[in-house]
Point group: C2
Chain length 201, copies 2
DNA sequence: GAATGTTACGCTGTCCGTAAGAATC
DNA sequence: GATTCTTACGGACAGCGTAACATTC
């Protein structure tokens, strides 16, 4: 099954005329005729009753028409929706908060990549501590904040949504041989992974 | 836009894996990969975030998925509905009544053609006068009757639906020169055509 | 013979599979 | 080095347009 078939089918059904349908879909009349024949063969059903100068839909054609129209409309909607989404993604403003360590270590690369992909998005970055960031987020002064969660792992904070993004290993360097910091195992158990599935860093 | 694109797109969206999606739709992985790329180029939007071993939908992909699924489901429904309709058309019974003149002149050819196209339809033909036919039709003993309408042309008869099918010229043959029967002009005016648009005889 | 749909035929573009490449773990 | 996605390339096939044909008015 091809979308083209349905386009041609609907054109003929609406014009009740092969030649005029061909003009409407900008194709030669024999090409359209053949595609309709292919569709009919594929369905195993005659779709049009070809009386000279009086093309009408058969029962099978009547059954197909509404679905064909809906399918074509959906295809149109699909492309349009994606386009509209892109248009929205291409302009706007994001107020992002982050801790000093994040701002120094991770943000520069991420912001560069983001700006390259969405040059129309205005980025406002605020650098302060995790506590302040959460408060400003709650107050609506920020859209997004990269914070270091309190001991015990991520948890819901009122109306805020928290998504684990990155788990870092903290290593104790010492002059005496020593095991890795025990919190590491706890972190992995809490998060289930080293890097969140949503994280592209 | 091709339906194939949407099929491949949905497969990748559901498996979150190009290789496994390719297996599911029975195509080589590079072929699928290329089609997805074509779809993305056509929409002007990236649909998947390709992180190694962690394919996820982008916002555009999320927007497209439900519509793509609906379109594919509709295509499936369309073919199935036509098939079911055909199955119904292929078996059944029609009780047809007709006047003696119709049974003699027109029916044989029509019945032969009809039976050739719908060999599974059982045809029961009853031959009697127009009055009786209408009565039996009203009583539900017939499904269809070919009658000669009362003078004055076709009209609604209770719950019956009447469709003009054929207008015949009646010629007076005489030893003296004479005009065509005057009713002929009246008939044409009433019916608007010599043969009804629905008539293939 | 004019109008209209179908069949025939060669051409082009699209899609496919195999093979090679690139990137990540 | 194994896995996984992308790029390259040659072949097969579907769809197109022109032309010829068939049919009906």
């Amino acid at each position: 099954m091809q979308l083209q078939y349905l386009t041609y089918f609907v054109a003929v059904a609406q014009t009740r005329h092969f030649t005029r349908a061909a003009e409407r879909v900008n194709v030669s009349q024999p090409a359209l005729s053949k595609q309709i024949a292919t569709l009919e063969r594929e369905l195993g059903a005659t779709l049009f009753s070809r009386a000279r100068g009086n093309i009408t839909l058969t029962a099978a054609g009547e059954a197909l028409l509404p679905l064909a129209q809906r399918i074509l409309a959906d295809v149109d909607t699909a492309t349009r929706e994606v386009q509209e989404l892109l248009a929205q993604l291409r302009r706007g403003r994001v107020r992002l908060g982050a801790t000093p360590s994040v701002c120094t270590g991770l943000l520069p690369t991420v912001l560069r990549d983001f700006h390259r992909e969405y040059p129309g998005i205005q980025l406002v970055v605020q650098e302060t501590g995790s506590g302040d960031l959460v408060r400003e987020l709650s107050a609506g002064a920020l859209d997004l904040a990269l914070v270091i969660p309190a001991q015990g792992g991520p948890a819901e904070e009122g109306a805020l949504v928290i998504t684990p993004v990155l788990v870092e290993e903290l290593i104790v360097a010492s002059s005496r041989p020593q095991r890795r910091h025990q919190n590491h195992a706890a972190h992995r158990a809490a998060c289930g992974c080293r890097t969140s599935p949503d994280c592209r860093w």
